[in-house]
Each structure stands twice: as C-alpha cells, then as structure tokens.
C-alpha cells in the first residue's frame, strides 16, 4: 500500500492488487498512511500456489476492478 500511496501522491492513478486475505490489512495501512480514499483491487487468496489456468482466473477477476480504479477511484 505504501508504494500505491506514494504513486497516487505523485499524481498517478494506481491500481494496487491484493488478495482477499489482506483486505483488512490494506485498509489499515492506507488509513495509517493517511490516504483513506485509496481502494485496492482484490482477488481471491492465494496467488502464490496457483497453476497458470488459475492465475488466468485471477486476471479476469482483476481486470474490471483495475479499469474502475483508474477511471472512477472505486472498484465497485
């Protein structure tokens, strides 16, 4: 979240992808860093142990959220 806050502070809309296990931590971190308006893109946990096909599913899950973050600032 730190990198995303820094990039947004430099004027670049940033879609930061996290897995569902870290949603709460991401909120707490962006609040602690002072950027309450930063919304993360959330994909199902885990990512590290997936097959290529499963990674493909996560890609599809992330795509619409990424576009909305860039254009609207929210994922929903």
């Amino acid at each position: 979240m730190h990198d995303a806050v820094m990039l947004e502070s430099r004027g670049r809309p940033t879609a930061v992808i996290i897995t569902s296990e870290f949603a709460l931590e991401a909120e707490a971190q962006r609040d602690a860093l002072g950027m309450a308006g930063l919304n993360a893109v959330v994909i199902a946990h885990p990512l590290s142990s997936l097959t290529d096909a499963e990674i493909g599913q996560r890609i599809e899950q992330a795509l619409p959220q990424i576009e909305r973050v860039w254009l609207v600032g929210r994922t929903a």
Binding site: A4, I17, L47, L63
Partner: protein
C-alpha cells in the same frame, strides 16, 4: 465518586490526510506502468494483465518495473521514475 486514572498505551498517529490523484477520463493513448514486487506469481499476474489490458485498449506504452525487495517500500528514485514514465499504474501483489 472517587476515580482512578487509566492510560492509553498506543500513542497518537499523526497522519496528514492525503487525497488520491485525479482520475483519468479514458485509457486509450496512456502510458501504463506495471510494478512487480517480486512476490511469487506477481510477474505472471502482471504480464497476463498487461496482455489482456493492451488487447482491450490502445495504450501508448507499457513499462515493467521490479522492486528490489518485496518486503520494503520501493525506492523513491524508482517511484519518481515510474511517475515520470507513466500515466497510470498497476502493482502486485499484496498477499
């Protein structure tokens, strides 16, 4: 009524509220940065996303960056470079 003091062990948090940057109105023609924090499969995720997004939008360029360490914040110089070379960014993965 007699009272006893109780104390707060947490310490204050001083955070100047920050606002997110203005959004972009459309994605065609923009330069897209992808920041890989080198955690497992972040690269596969980002490369797949880049290919799918590039097929859907006429981006200007796509630029790929890797953090030195997944567990520390990106170096300010790297962040400056990403901001200079791109209009929008996607980063992965916080897991």
């Amino acid at each position: 009524m007699k009272t006893m003091p109780v104390y707060d062990p947490r310490g204050v948090v001083e955070a100047a509220p920050l606002v997110i940057s203005p959004r972009v109105k459309q994605l065609d023609g923009l330069r897209v940065g992808l920041l890989d924090n080198t955690k497992w499969n972040a690269n596969k995720l980002l490369r797949g996303l880049r290919d799918r997004l590039a097929a859907m939008h006429a981006f200007g360029t796509t630029n790929y960056y890797r953090k030195e360490s997944f567990a520390a914040a990106a170096a300010p110089a790297l962040l400056d470079r990403i901001a200079a070379e791109n209009d929008i960014v996607v980063t992965a993965i916080g897991d």
